[in-house]
């Protein structure tokens, strides 16, 4: 667009009158010069030249084979009108060489005119922009450009494809074609997917039917020892070799065994685990651990976890710091569940922050295994990962590990405020009265969150000094919510002191807070 505008502006500049008058000044004033000028121009539209030879001549000016081609008139001979001044100049040269006296007449729009009139006519054409003056000999390229610019553009409709020449229409048409292609691809792929899914579902149903009978027979008719002693040919009679080679059959078999393992108890579980290994499905699970898709790797971890594949733990350990959230979560869960000693070093060394979701899952497993295994929670406090340390403190609280209070106490001085808040909650939950000094230190913190958490803890594990600090804080506090929290802390710690303080001050705000705290319906609000 800018290019077009530029072109328009440049064209306008060229057509400025001043520029045109400068060009018309290039027409020579003298007749010889004017002739040379016309020869240089070759043609000027509307202007011509004619020669007149007076009297009767001995030369054959008008015979058919004459080079002159003159026509005889009453007073002499007249040449044709030449619009090509180059040809006219050639004729003039001929006349001169034959020493024929002649007269040159200019023809303006086919009417005889004087040299001055012809000059004025040419100047007028230049002024109006109808004629562009040639100022020097032309080369071939300039000729073509001049011709092109002088010729009005007309598209050759015969060879023009409308859709291609109109870029907008072309774009829109292409998009429509694209839409149709997308729609066809979408529908085709949907149909293929649906057909594939149906086929897969039918096969799954069929395989499931084929799996149920042998599994039931093995579980109810054979004992653990018999299953462990089975050789390959016996296994093949239950689960045919040709079917076992099919991944979908293997998948269905794994799902069935894991499904039953979840539902069954005792000896049946052992039988299923033995069968899983006998059939070589454990190797498939371990192999699937290295699948490029995270969901397949996670599925493998689920299988290892469900089927207690302890021998796969070294492999599982490699995934505890996987960059994929689900893989590392499941790897840690599997390790927590299966490892004999529950050495939490792998958790301590985890570099990724631990989410609440992961904490919830690990907590479930730790709660389950903690009565059977010796959990060394203290190791988590040494982690460089803050979220792991926080989780460790939470575990102490949730598992009720009073034996860890001493360790927490040693830790409490040099940790972040967030960890201090977690420790305060733990002290309150475990009734750690001996830690009141730490509570008082936190009460005096400049971090309001820590101070408020300490007020909450003081209600349970505070001492007389805590009450004094709380009273100081209430008096200096300007934020209503914090004042309420401090007074709640005081009420929980020493109801008599609270009553004494609130009755001594008749400030309406304080009285409102007192009523709020004493209202039994607002105990947990």
């Amino acid at each position: 667009m800018a290019k077009s505008l530029c072109r328009i502006v440049i064209s306008l500049l060229f057509f400025l009158p001043g520029f045109a008058s400068a060009l018309q000044d290039t027409i020579p004033e003298d007749s010889a010069g004017f002739r040379d000028f016309l020869v240089l121009q070759k043609e000027v539209p509307g202007l011509g030249a004619r020669f007149f030879v007076a009297g009767t001549r001995t030369l054959d000016l008008n015979t058919p084979d004459s080079a002159y081609g003159f026509a005889q008139v009453d007073s002499g001979y007249l040449s044709p009108i030449y619009i090509d001044f180059l040809q006219a100049a050639e004729l003039e040269g001929l006349l001169l060489s034959d020493s024929v006296p002649y007269r040159l007449d200019y023809m303006v729009l086919s009417e005889p005119a004087s040299a001055a009139a012809a000059r004025e006519f040419v100047a007028g054409r230049i002024r109006s922009g109808d004629y562009l003056v040639k100022t020097g000999p032309e080369d071939e390229v300039e000729d073509l450009v001049a011709l092109a610019s002088n010729t009005r553009y007309a598209p050759v409709e015969k060879f023009r494809l409308k859709f291609v020449s109109d870029y907008r229409l072309f774009g829109v048409t292409l998009t429509i074609v694209f839409f149709f292609l997308v729609a066809i691809i979408m529908i085709t792929s949907m149909l293929i997917m649906k057909a594939g899914k149906n086929k897969r579902e039918n096969l799954q149903k069929e395989y499931s039917r084929l799996i149920v009978d042998p599994l039931t027979t093995l579980l109810f008719e054979k004992d653990l020892g018999e299953i462990q002693a089975m050789d390959q040919s016996e296994l093949d009679s239950f689960f045919p070799k040709n079917l076992m080679a099919k991944p979908l059959y293997q998948h269905e078999l794994i799902d069935s065994i894991i499904g039953l393992n979840k539902k069954m108890k005792g000896d049946f579980k052992e039988k299923l685990k033995a069968l899983y290994k006998k059939l070589g499905l454990d190797k498939l699970s371990v192999k699937m651990l290295h699948h490029k898709n995270w969901d397949m790797a996670t599925m493998a971890l689920v299988q290892i976890n469900e089927m207690d594949l302890v021998e796969a733990l070294p492999e599982v350990k490699k995934f505890t710091n996987s960059k994929n959230f689900h893989v590392r979560s499941m790897a840690v869960s599997t390790l927590l569940n299966l490892s004999e000693k529950v050495d939490l070093v792998f958790l301590r060394d985890q570099t990724y922050p631990l989410s609440h979701w992961q904490q919830m899952n690990y907590l479930r497993i730790i709660r389950f295994v903690s009565p059977q295994k010796d959990l060394k929670l203290g190791i988590l406090f040494d982690s460089k990962n803050r979220s792991i340390r926080l989780f460790g403190i939470k575990l102490v609280r949730i598992l009720g590990r009073v034996d860890m209070i001493e360790k927490l106490s040693a830790l409490a001085g040099g940790v972040s405020d967030e960890e201090k808040i977690e420790i305060l909650e733990t002290y309150a939950a475990l009734g750690a009265y001996m830690e009141s000094a730490f509570v008082n230190e936190c009460l005096r913190s400049e971090n309001p969150s820590l101070s408020l958490a300490a007020a909450k803890a003081a209600a349970v594990v505070g001492d007389a000094e805590s009450a004094e600090i709380l009273l100081e804080l209430v008096q200096s506090e300007t934020v209503f919510r914090n004042k309420l929290a401090y007074l709640k802390g005081l009420y929980g710690l020493d109801a008599a002191r609270f009553a004494e303080f609130t009755s001594s001050d008749s400030h309406p705000e304080l009285q409102d807070i007192r009523d709020h705290i004493l209202d039994p319906m607002l105990q947990n609000v």
Binding site: M1, K162, D166, R168, L169, G171, V172, T173, T175, I176, F179, F180, V182, A183, M186, M190, W294, D295, T298, M299, V302, F325, H326, M330, Y352, P353, L354, S355, H356, W357, Q359, M360, N361, L363, R364, K394, I398, F480, R481, L484, E509, D512, I513, D515, H516, L518, D519, M521, L522, N524, V525
Partner: protein
């Protein structure tokens, strides 16, 4: 000269419309691809999720459910009971009676044995006066708190609830919404999964309950609505929730969480000053302000989205009510974009400033204006005789096919992911709706949007000069409040 200029302008407009049409196509294709990827990942993740643990785990966060009610006397007791029966360990239900003129409060007091408490209401976020806070002595209703306050609108009522909420997360819902019993446990999952980025809010899908069977707070049988407008909204909701929001969630560019069902981090909502009651688009405005605040504080954050069907609502099926709703939505969008102009193409705000904001400005806010301008342009071309029928038909066909493709994709998408509408008759009706929607309903939606623009210009609803000037900082809403109070 004038003629040259006129045709130059026509040419420029022609190009502009073409560029816009292609941008719409490109954007929608990108959205389709992104939502597909997000849905695939979501379904994969769901295979390994055990929601049973969340209900009892001490690690799971507490949720305060805030439900404003205005003249809901007919259904309030049933709705409150439904909320109290949600499956979750740590939650409270705060019903806010926003100055109802009917017997909403009386019914609640009677049904839940409520008594006025001595709760000392000292608002952090300025609200209309509170007349009383009620709780029950009956332990079965220990989770319920009812606030009775003077009428101040939905945002004001929610702010009152935010002031007294005691748990970490806020679930802001419409009281007449039907919530699945699993809704809380599913919605808190993104908050619990956060690692490097703070999850500040999570949005959920709103299903359409018109003509469906509801049992025990869950839609048991899906049927599409009887009316054209109802059916149109089914497709529109698929497009908006399953396609649009999933795609935006994928690139962390979500700007809107439905006011009918959204979860927020309480500390952050309080930090930014709660809802802005002077805009009709308070839900969108709050999300944008929270995101802006996090960006200004340079804290990496995320707005999550859960595509599980967990909440259902009745959508308006009358033209009058729907037109009012669309008008309000348009004004809300304009007001939010005006209030947060600083985001516009501002790289400091990442995807929010460089992609989400321009997208909303062009394809949501300006869409009715652009479409009307397109009609005017075509009329002018007809008058001056520069109209190309073949080009016009091709362009129309292109946009129509886009509409068909996007709508079909969202319906197919729903079928693959959830497959709620199992009846073939329902599917046929939906397909018919997809084919006819661009001619029957879309022009009306454009018209209602245009009326929204006109009403905004007239200053209806919004807070005139404030909205025009916009917030200079995300915390300005709080400062504004302090100034008003003092």
């Amino acid at each position: 000269m004038y003629s040259f200029l006129f045709f130059l302008i026509l040419e420029i407009f022609g190009l502009l419309f073409l560029v816009l049409s292609f941008s719409v196509i490109v954007f929608y294709f990108i959205l389709m691809a992104l939502s597909g990827l997000e849905m695939r990942d979501f379904l994969r993740k769901n295979r390994f999720a055990d929601y049973g643990d969340i209900i009892t785990s001490p690690i799971a966060p507490g949720v305060s459910i805030l439900a404003p009610a205005f003249n809901e006397g007919q259904s309030i007791v049933q709705n409150a009971q439904s909320l109290l029966s949600l499956h979750y360990g740590k939650f409270e239900v705060i019903l806010i009676n926003d100055g109802s003129k009917d017997d909403t409060l009386e019914k609640l007091i009677r049904s839940f044995e409520l008594e006025k408490t001595n709760y000392v209401y000292h608002p952090e976020i300025e609200t209309k006066p509170v007349r009383g806070i009620y709780r029950s002595k009956n332990m079965s209703y220990r989770r319920l708190t009812v606030i009775d306050k003077e009428n101040g609108g939905k945002a004001d009522a929610l702010n009152t609830g935010i002031n007294i909420a005691s748990l970490e997360l806020l679930a802001c819902i419409d009281v007449d919404c039907i919530l699945s019993s699993e809704s809380i446990s599913r919605m808190v999952r993104p908050f619990m999964e956060e690692t490097n980025k703070k999850v500040i809010a999570v949005g959920g899908v709103i299903g359409i309950a018109n003509n469906c069977d509801v049992q025990d707070g869950t839609v048991t049988k899906y049927r599409i609505p009887e009316t054209t407008l109802g059916r149109f909204q089914v497709i529109e909701y698929f497009r908006a929730f399953l396609m649009g929001r999933m795609a935006w969630a994928r690139i962390n560019g979500l700007m809107l969480i439905s006011g009918a069902f959204g979860f927020f981090r309480k500390d952050l909502v309080r930090a930014v000053g709660g809802y802005f009651p002077k805009t009709v688009g308070e839900d969108m405005e709050l999300v944008v302000r929270m995101r802006r605040y996090m960006d200004e504080q340079k804290i990496p954050h995320k707005v999550g989205f859960v595509p599980d069907p967990l909440c259902w609502t009745e959508v308006p099926e009358s033209e009058k009510v729907l037109s009012r709703q669309r008008n309000r939505w348009m004004r809300g969008t304009i007001e939010t974009l005006q209030l947060h102009q600083v985001l516009r193409l501002n790289p400091k705000f990442g995807i929010l400033g460089m992609v989400s904001y321009p997208f909303w400005s062009i394809f949501e806010k300006a869409a009715p204006i652009i479409e009307t301008a397109g009609i005017l342009y075509t009329t002018i071309l007809l008058i001056v005789g520069d109209f190309s029928t073949i080009y016009f038909v091709a362009l129309l066909l292109m946009m129509y096919l886009l509409s068909l493709l996007v709508s079909s994709f969202s319906v197919l998408y729903e079928q693959i992911a959830f497959n709620h509408y199992k009846d073939k008759k329902d599917l046929r009706k939906l397909i018919w709706m997809i084919i006819t929607e661009p001619f029957i309903v879309h022009p009306k939606v454009v018209y209602w949007g245009l009326l929204g623009h006109i009403d905004f210009v007239k200053g209806k609803g919004g807070w005139g000069s404030m909205i025009r000037t916009g917030f200079k900082k995300a915390e300005d809403k709080k400062n504004l409040q302090e100034q008003t109070t003092t």
